[in-house]
Structures are given as C-alpha cells and as structure tokens.
C-alpha cells in the first residue's frame, strides 16, 4: 500500500441551528448551495484537487442525507482501493457509547482510523465553509516551518472581527497569542477552521485532552491553547481569497448571490480547480420565448417562462409565465406558478408557490421599518397557497393556505 502523507478529517457533524428549517432534516454541510452543490463539495473538492485522497468525514447530526450524498465518494474521485472517503459516525465501544463531545473528541474517537494509514500529517477541516484552497501549499508551508500545527488565517474586516477566533502573528508567521470572539478585537487575523497538524504531536495532545476532565474537547478552545502553552511551534498560514461561513440565513443567501457578482473572487468555471458534486440527471434547462432571464445562475432541468433576475435556481425548478423570481435562491424541483412573486427569499426543495402568491419583500418596500426586514425562508415539500403572502424574515415550514 502506498504511503499516505497527509490525511484529512472533515468535521461534518454540525447542526447549523441558525439555518433554522433548512437544517431540520439535514446537517449543515449537506445544505444546498450554488445551483447544484452542497457546502461539503467545497472541502471535499479542495482535498482531491490538493492531492489528498484519504478523507474521514465525521458525521453526527442527521447523517442520513449526508451519508447518502457522499456514497462511495465517486463524485469527488474519492472511491479508492486504498484510502478514499470514509464516513465516520460515533459508535458503541466496550466502555459504552459516546457522542462526539467536541471537535477534538471527534478526532480522538477515530485515532484508530487515522493510525491505520499512519500519516505524517493530518488536516482538520470544517465542513461548513465555501472556499477554494490548495491544502498542498499550506502543507508545504507547515513542513517549511517545521510546525506542530499550522492554522489557516484570513484578514477579515475589523467590524466583523469579533465574530471570529483571532490570532496575533509574529513576523516569521508564528502565532503569539489567541483570542476567541473578543468584544473589542485587537487583531483582524481570523482562523478559518482549517488546521494541519503533525500527527505524532496531535495524537499525544488528543490523548492528554481526553484525560483532562476540565476540557471541553474543542480544537479552538482546548487543544490548540494547550499546544501553545506547551511551547509547540504554531504557525499561521495566510489565505487570500473568497471564504465564507454560511452559518446564517443571511450569509447563505449572500454567498449564493456572490456567485453572480463579478467583483467577488469565486469562480466555479475554473477547469483547473473544479468543484465536484453529484449531478442531477436532467436535460439542459429550457428558456421559453416568454422568459426574461438576467444576471442569474440556472441549472439543468429548469423550465423558465417567467422573469428571473439576480437569482440562483437549482435543478428542475419551474418558473411559469408571468411569475417573477428576483434576489432569491430556489432549490431543486420547486415550482413558482403563474403570477407568483418570489423576492429576497430562499425556497427549499419540492415546494409549490401557487398562482399569485407573494414570498418575501424588498428592503426598499420596508425602508420605514428596516429592522423588521430579512430574507424570507420557505421549507421543503410545502405549498404556499393561491394569493397567500409570506413576509420578509418569516420562516415557513408548513403549508400556507391560500384562497380557494
């Protein structure tokens, strides 16, 4: 068997509770994004594009759809005889059953999986972010610095810095200090939740962390500070490029529409760094002579006769004549019927917006009470009745009755 130099562990167990009804039945990494992708396609594609062909995906919350989606990893070219993708769920042991208590504990519980490959390095990745990154370059940096741990770092706008784990970095790239989501940030160098560890070191710290009853078993809170305190070589690896945590409805909406903004540095058409996904089996989309489509992303199987502007439509979406979709994300197999309006909204799969219904409001319309404005969200498999209305910021996961 060939030697595995670097193995990736992908943390995909998160609920993403701030995404509300969109993550009722699926884990956050399985949330659809960008017309045909799911969030997890990004770290998985980054792995294969970076030459990492052994990946453990740690699942816990609502794993069914995610397991199903990953399958044998074929879509990402990760169906391998040696290595490939492995879905790792919590399991029963002789001493009892443990859920993954924290990010570090999740890796700890799978030490035996990693040991099977005996890698020199382990990349710990989050399954929640949209970004294209070459982990091979980061690994080269890690080796060059002879680091125990390298953390990918991004300079964020100062006003947003307080939402992140921040770092203070010396001139040589080494990290001098950490600060977790401070109220008054003194640094704007944020951790992206992408780590490369020298496995021998990490293995020992994971065991020590597990034996520490006071630990929360989290990388950011416990393991990395412990490594720092012990004087290990910790380095920051600067990343310049698009990176987005799609943890909230607003950020998910924004990240989708970012794909339509030529000023945003996220190009999915780059054949040198493809983002792979499981494609729907559908014919090309059809645009009728009644349609007006501008500044939008449209997937295969769609049938468009209405107006679509500044929106992202997933596969097999139907927009009937006289219907309007603008500033919105519409997930697979949803139908927007004649005369209906969908604006500033996210509509989940298999939903029907009946004739004349109105979902969402524009911020201009609500400029007198802008604090009440927000993206409207309609859940999967429901019907918004004829001429019914769903207001801005509303989240609907049951049928809304319309006129008979």
């Amino acid at each position: 068997m060939k030697k595995t130099e670097c193995l990736a562990m992908l943390l995909a167990g998160g609920q993403g509770s701030r995404l509300g009804i969109l993550t009722k039945h699926i884990a956050k990494p399985a949330v659809p994004y960008g017309g045909k992708y799911r969030i997890i396609d990004f770290p998985l594609s980054n792995c294969i594009n970076s030459g990492i062909d052994t990946v453990g995906v740690l699942t816990q919350y609502q794993p069914l759809e995610l397991n199903d989606y990953i399958g044998n990893g074929e879509a990402w070219d990760l169906d391998r005889r040696d290595g490939g993708v492995h879905v790792l769920s919590p399991y029963q042991q002789i001493k009892g059953t443990d859920w993954y208590k924290g990010t570090a504990n999740a890796i700890y519980q799978n030490i035996n999986f990693i040991d099977r490959y005996n890698p020199e390095y382990v990349a710990v990745l989050s399954g929640d972010h949209i970004y294209k990154m070459d982990y091979a370059k980061m690994l080269a940096y890690h080796k060059e610095k002879d680091a125990a741990c390298t953390i990918a770092m991004l300079e964020v706008p100062w006003e947003e810095a307080s939402r992140f784990g921040l770092m203070f970095v010396n001139n040589d790239g080494s990290i001098s200090e950490f600060e977790e989501k401070p109220k008054k940030p003194r640094s704007n160098k944020a951790s992206m939740g992408v780590y490369i560890f020298t496995w021998k070191k990490l293995r020992q710290y994971l065991i020590d962390d597990e034996n520490n009853p006071n630990s929360g078993n989290d990388f950011g809170h416990d393991v990395i500070p412990a490594m720092h305190a012990a004087g290990e070589r910790l380095f920051a690896y600067q990343f310049d490029g698009y990176w987005k945590d799609v943890g909230t409805i607003d950020s998910l909406w924004e990240a989708n529409l970012d794909l339509l903004n030529p000023r945003v540095d996220l190009d999915l058409s780059d054949s040198a760094w493809k983002i792979y996904s499981k494609s729907a089996v559908a014919p090309p989309h059809f645009i009728s002579d009644k349609a007006a489509v501008e500044n939008s992303m449209i997937s295969e199987g769609c049938d468009i006769s209405g107006t679509v502007d500044y929106s992202v439509l997933f596969s097999n979406v139907t927009v009937e004549e006289g219907a309007t979709v603008r500033y919105s994300i519409v997930m697979p197999c949803t139908t927007v019927k004649a005369g209906a309006v969908v604006e500033y909204a996210i509509i989940a799969e298999n939903t029907v917006i009946e004739t004349g219904a109105h979902v969402g409001n524009s911020p201009e319309e609500m400029k007198d009470h802008l604090e009440d404005w927000g993206i409207a969200v309609v859940g999967e498999n429901i019907t918004i009745g004829k001429n019914a209305a769903v207001c801005a910021k509303q989240m609907v996961d049951t049928d809304v009755k319309g006129e008979a």
Partner: protein, 370 residues
C-alpha cells in the same frame, strides 16, 4: 416484466458515412445531441430504464471518442461485476478484407459475444435514432403477441439511408418488406429497433452465413416474411432517424420548438457522462428565448431558438439564432450566428457574421477558429 432476461445490442456506428461532416472524427453514436448528450445515450438509457443489465455496443471505426464517452458504463449504472456494458470493437474474420461493412457482418462478428450470453431475448437498436422509448412495453408486447420478430416502425417519409426497410402491414403482422424502396411518399419505415429470441437470431445469422448472404435486411428479414411471424410495433412518440447533417439540424430545431417535452420524460431519464460544470450563468443584459441551455454556459449576449451545449460562451453583443453550438465553443463580442451547427471547441472571433439557411445549415468543424 422488467427486462432482465434481455440482452441489448446497440449498433453505434450506424450509417457513419452518411452524416459525414460530424462523423469524420467520431462514430455516429458519439455525435453530440440535445445540449448535453451523445446519440448513443438515448438507446443506452432506455435499455437501462427498462431493466436491461447487459448491453453490447458494436462499433466499426473512429470509436475512440465513443469509448471516451462510455468509459466503464458507470453513468448508466452498467459498470458491473457481472454483465454490464461491453464495447465490441470490429471483429474481422481472417481473410475477410475489412469488418462490419454491413449489419450482417457486424452481427456475424458479434455471434461469439451473443452466444455467451444467457439471456433469452435480444433487443437490437441503432444509435442514430433519436427517441426515448419505453422498451419494457415493446418487449412485453412482443412476448404477448407470440411473434418471432418485432420491428418498431414509424409512419412518415423514409430516411434517406441505404437498407431502410418499408413495410406493408395487416394489423400488426408485417406482410411485405421492401428494402431500399424508391418512393418519396409517406411509408411505414423501420426504426431498426428489433426484439427477438436469442436462439432465433443465432439460427438466422448462421443460416445467412452458410448461404453466403451479405445483407441483413434483404437476406434475413425480407426473405423470411412468409416463414416467420414478423410483427410491426408502431411508434407514435418522438422518434427521428438522423440521416444527414440537415436532419440533425431539423431534429435539433424540433426540440426547441417544444419537442424537448416529448423527448425528455421524467419517468425515462437519459443518462450521460458527467462533466462537473457549474450551472449556466446569465450576465447583465443577457437575452435568451426558446432555447435549451446546458450547465457551464456563460451568456452575456443574445440566444434565440438555439441549443447550447455544456461550457459555451456567448460574449456581450453576440447573437446566436436558430443554431446548435456544441461543447466549449466560444462566440466572441458582436459576432452573429444564424442557422449554424458549430462542432466542439469552435472559436468565432469578434464581429463575424455567419449564416446558413434553415434548409442548409452552416457546419463548422471541431476545433476550428473563424
């Protein structure tokens, strides 16, 4: 009945020489069609959709692009430990002087593969027929009728190809078979989709070989019209035989004029090789109407009554009308296309004007720059 007892055979080089513009670089089965498919995807997917698990793909020449497209058969779920898809290159018997010149020669070359199969029935189909048919119903109809051979036919003007059979029917029984009938009137003509028992096919082909016959249609089918129960299955669905660049263009235009709804059916999905393109992007100022547009296209100009394959770029001010533009072609600023068929990877430089006529489309070969 799910057709698990049926072996599928697709003749992937059917009439290569007649669609010569596009088949100079490929077998007819790998002609791109419908925005993201190759012609072979249609019979191959229909076989899979009806439950067939063993398919032989017979080839003649220029089949590298076909092999590249089919790979191991995975997109059709035909990459199997047992059975699955098998590409059957030409089998040239020593001293034969060239292989697979006729359908009978092709079948003779396949007999080894066919006799190894344990299936009871055989379904034969040609790759140059664009249709999305429920083969399960066709096979069931064949078995129920007690016919020896069922042949699917369509009513209309016979394709302009050699060896096309035309039929006279009494109910569903074929009473007369003409080959190469010289008559432009509407006829019941063969779609070259046949169902029969494997044992019967073996017997017929072996007998024809022994008699030194050369022609399947004349020496095997027409010659047996009185001794066998030949049954016609009338196809009323969308089914078009591609016999030239002109019909290729006409059938493509039929799709955007509403035919896509007849051809692309939810219950009979057409599978094809995945390319991992992003969804299509429409820019500010893009105009599109009455068109089929595949993933990976970037549209900043105008597209009307056209089919754009995966990864086509239409720049600002460019206009594409009544055209078929294949994979990865690039239409630069302010260029105008009308009634054109652009093969893969064509680059149209800025401010060019290219136009064919609806009865005579302009064809631009693969990898050309205009």
């Amino acid at each position: 009945m799910r057709a698990s007892n049926v072996l599928g055979i697709i003749y992937a080089s059917a009439y290569d020489e007649h669609i010569s513009e596009m088949t100079s670089v490929r077998a007819s089965g790998s002609i791109p069609f419908g925005g993201r498919y190759r012609l072979i995807d249609f019979p191959l997917s229909d076989m899979v959709d009806c439950g067939i698990t063993a398919v032989g793909v017979s080839t003649k020449s220029n089949y590298r692009s076909l092999m590249d497209h089919l790979g191991s058969g995975k997109p059709w779920d035909l990459s199997r430990k047992n059975e699955g898809m098998t590409i059957l290159p030409p089998f040239d018997l020593a001293g034969n002087g060239g292989a697979n010149r006729t359908r009978l020669e092709a079948l003779q070359g396949l007999m080894n593969y066919i006799s190894h199969s344990k299936k009871e029935y055989i379904l034969l189909a040609d790759a140059n027929v664009v249709a999305n048919l429920n083969y399960e119903a066709i096979i069931d109809g064949h078995i129920k009728s007690g016919a020896d051979i069922t042949i699917c036919y369509k009513h209309g003007v016979k394709p302009n190809l050699p060896n096309i059979m035309t039929f006279t029917l009494d109910g569903e029984k074929i009473t007369k078979v003409l080959v190469n009938e010289n008559d432009k009137a509407e006829k019941d003509y063969s779609l070259n989709i046949l169902v029969l028992r494997k044992a019967l096919l073996e017997r017929l082909v072996n007998a024809a070989t022994a008699a030194g016959a050369t022609d399947f249609e004349r020496d095997v089918i027409a010659a047996n019209v009185d001794t066998l129960f030949l049954r016609g299955e009338k196809i009323n669905d969308f089914a078009c035989t591609i016999d030239s660049l002109k019909t290729y263009y006409e059938v493509s235009m039929k799709l955007v004029q509403g035919g896509y709804k007849e051809l692309f059916k939810k219950d009979l999905p057409i599978y094809t090789k995945v390319r991992d393109n992003m969804p299509a992007i429409y820019g500010i100022g893009a105009k599109a109407a009455n068109s089929l547009i595949a993933d990976g296209c970037i549209i900043k100009g105008t597209v009307e009554n056209s089919i754009l394959f995966r990864g086509v770029y239409v720049a600002e001010g460019a206009v594409v009308r009544n055209s078929v533009v294949m994979q990865d072609s690039y239409i630069s600023e302010n260029s105008k296309l009308n009634c054109a068929v652009l093969d893969k990877n064509v680059v149209i430089k800025p401010n060019k004007k290219l136009s064919g006529a609806d009865t005579c489309p302009l064809y631009i070969a693969k990898d050309s720059t205009v």
